[in-house]
């Protein structure tokens, strides 16, 4: 008899706990939202792009987002300019192989890898803007190894 009563009560309590928990999860999501909403602002697009006489691209292996020594070397040369710039825009790209949505994520991964390197080298993370175009904006439209190698890139532009 007692068990008959206790069971629904137990379930009710459990349900309440779940409710509270899911509310909490919802709150944390809205916090994240406030934090990153400003990234969408496109103020840097209005500013003038700074011309540099340095190579402004780093390249990657297929399905990889790690920087090799050559890339790091190039970014090191860039550092003084980057530190002077108001906004650093990093645009990640992929080659056409593989699926589009996955490549969109992979392009972002590549741009973030460059961002993290810059932050380690003392660039303020606040002025870095990251965007990925996946495989949507290739430099070369051909379907061969050379074109693919050129398309797997992160483009750096300074404002």
């Amino acid at each position: 008899m007692r068990r008959l009563f206790m069971e629904p009560i137990g379930i009710f309590i459990l349900a309440m706990i779940c409710q509270v928990y899911s509310c909490a999860a919802n709150v944390s999501d809205s916090v994240e939202r406030m934090q990153y909403a400003s990234v969408a602002g496109e103020e840097y697009l209005q500013g003038d792009k700074l011309d540099t006489n340095l190579d402004d691209k780093v390249f990657f292996e297929f399905d990889k987002s790690s920087l090799d020594a050559e890339d790091k070397n190039l970014l090191e040369q860039y550092l003084p300019l980057i530190k002077k710039a108001k906004i650093v825009r990093l645009e990640g790209h992929c080659d056409e192989r593989g699926t589009r949505e996955y490549n969109l994520a992979l392009g972002e991964r590549r741009a973030l890898e460059v961002r993290d390197f810059l932050i380690v080298k003392g660039v303020s993370g606040k002025k870095i803007r990251v965007v990925s175009f996946g495989e949507e904006k290739p430099l070369k439209s051909a379907s061969n190894e050379n074109a693919w190698a050129e398309n797997r890139r992160v483009e750096i532009s300074l404002y």
Partner: protein
């Protein structure tokens, strides 16, 4: 008890009177041959509706290469009713099915009354008889309905001739168009034109809206566009990247990918109260979600193992299961309409091809033979896959029936076509 008795009986009968059994597993590579006899017309009615309708039906039925036809000039007779129909006329020509019909009347409002029949020549029986009333300015629509009925009778699958296709056209470097058309390529409509890339179109289950990703504001953002009014709504960009929206089977929520601080994860987004619920939480890439037909599970791509592989997650318990193990690139999975198999992009020796896999088995079967195949979409009856591929630098859409008997490509468009999305059936 009775059950065990009957089982026993079965065993005994099987062995004592053991009878030769020959197993037939393989079917013919041939297609069924169908004769589309020009529809007759009641004397006194003007116009050539008759041959128009049968030609339309023929075109529909041949659209995906699932049948073979008999040329009109090879026919021995042109019956329009059962009384004039002789099986031997068709048997000698190797015909498997014949379609006949007749325009019975036209009323003052322009409504046509049409009757039609379908015969199985080998079995010498009429397997379908129907009557339809429709307006004379909607011959195409009438033909589609008749085609669906015939297709359903012959194949046992739902007819798909009134479905639509959504796709993205990239006509030059800076022009992207979100388009829809009838499944036969007719009645193309441009929903939205942009200078920035457009991606990932997906139909709402009621076929009234399309969700897609647009870069018009500089980064990936999800829009929902109403097809009737043309109105577009951004679902309010959250995080850095929003992508890969897919409608739940009930149409009330989207599964999508949100990347907060650069880590893409799968979320559920409820359309009414705009709430986000996190489904996955992993530092790897989680993307390309898609719902199981019973909406209990979501399949997605993740590189958590080091290479992109397919996983499924239960939306309630959030329990995850890895679905693919062979090969180092298995991505953008979708369930078959029956939920028992999946199809996806499979990387194999540098080639990317469309493949299928039964959930119950480990074996991956590759369907296509070109090397840059992606974005597969399946017909609502589960019988045909259309996918995007490339010829030189030009993208076009290819298709294949799942028995592998027919391969076709869709008419070439002015520009690179990609990301086909097959609409659901109209219910």
């Amino acid at each position: 008890m009775i059950r065990s008795l009957s089982l026993l009986f079965f065993l005994v009968s099987n062995s004592i009177f053991s009878i030769l059994e020959i197993e037939i597993l393989k079917g013919s590579d041939n297609l069924s041959k169908v004769a589309f006899v020009p529809f007759g017309i009641e004397s006194g009615i003007e116009g050539n509706y008759g041959s128009q309708i049968s030609k339309n039906i023929e075109k529909n039925m041949l659209l995906f290469g699932e049948f073979e036809n008999l040329a009109v000039n090879e026919m021995l007779s042109y019956p329009s009713s059962e009384n004039d129909f002789y099986y031997r006329d068709w048997k000698v020509l190797g015909v498997d099915y014949s379609v006949i019909g007749k325009i019975n009347s036209v009323n003052a409002l322009g409504n046509l009354n049409i009757s039609y029949s379908l015969f199985n020549i080998n079995r010498r029986i009429k397997i379908l008889e129907g009557e339809i009333v429709g307006r004379e300015d909607n011959i195409e629509g009438i033909s589609k309905i008749i085609s669906n009925r015939i297709y359903e009778e012959i194949t046992g699958l739902r007819g798909i001739f009134d479905t639509k296709l959504a796709y993205v056209i990239n006509s030059d470097a800076d022009t992207y168009q979100m388009c829809i058309s009838d499944i036969d390529g007719k009645n193309e409509q441009i929903l939205f034109t942009s200078k920035a890339p457009i991606m990932s179109p997906d139909w709402s289950p009621d076929r009234k809206k399309i969700a897609y990703v647009s870069f018009e504001n500089g980064l990936a953002e999800i829009f929902i566009q109403d097809l009737q009014s043309g109105e577009r709504d951004s679902i309010q960009a959250l995080g850095m990247t929003n992508s890969a929206p897919v409608w739940s089977p009930d149409g009330r929520s989207l599964a999508l990918v949100v990347s907060f601080s650069g880590n893409p994860d799968i979320f559920l987004y409820s359309i009414n109260n705009k709430r986000l619920i996190r489904l996955t939480n992993h530092y790897g890439i989680d993307t390309e979600p898609s719902w199981s037909p019973d909406s209990k599970k979501i399949i997605f791509t993740s590189d958590r193992s080091g290479s992109p592989q397919l996983y499924e997650i239960n939306t309630k318990s959030k329990r995850k299961k890895r679905l693919t193990k062979d090969g180092n690139y298995n991505a953008r999975g979708r369930y078959f309409p029956d939920g028992k198999s999946i199809f996806f992009v499979h990387g194999n020796d540098g080639n990317f091809q469309i493949a299928t896999k039964k959930l119950s088995s480990r074996y991956i079967e590759t369907l296509t033979s070109t090397s840059l195949d992606e974005s597969p979409t399946i017909s609502p009856n589960g019988n045909i896959i259309i996918y995007a591929t490339k010829d030189g630098s030009n993208g076009y859409l290819g298709g294949i029936t799942l028995d592998g008997k027919s391969r076709f490509s869709l008419p070439v468009k002015n520009g690179s076509v990609r990301e086909p999305a097959w609409s659901p059936l109209l219910n």
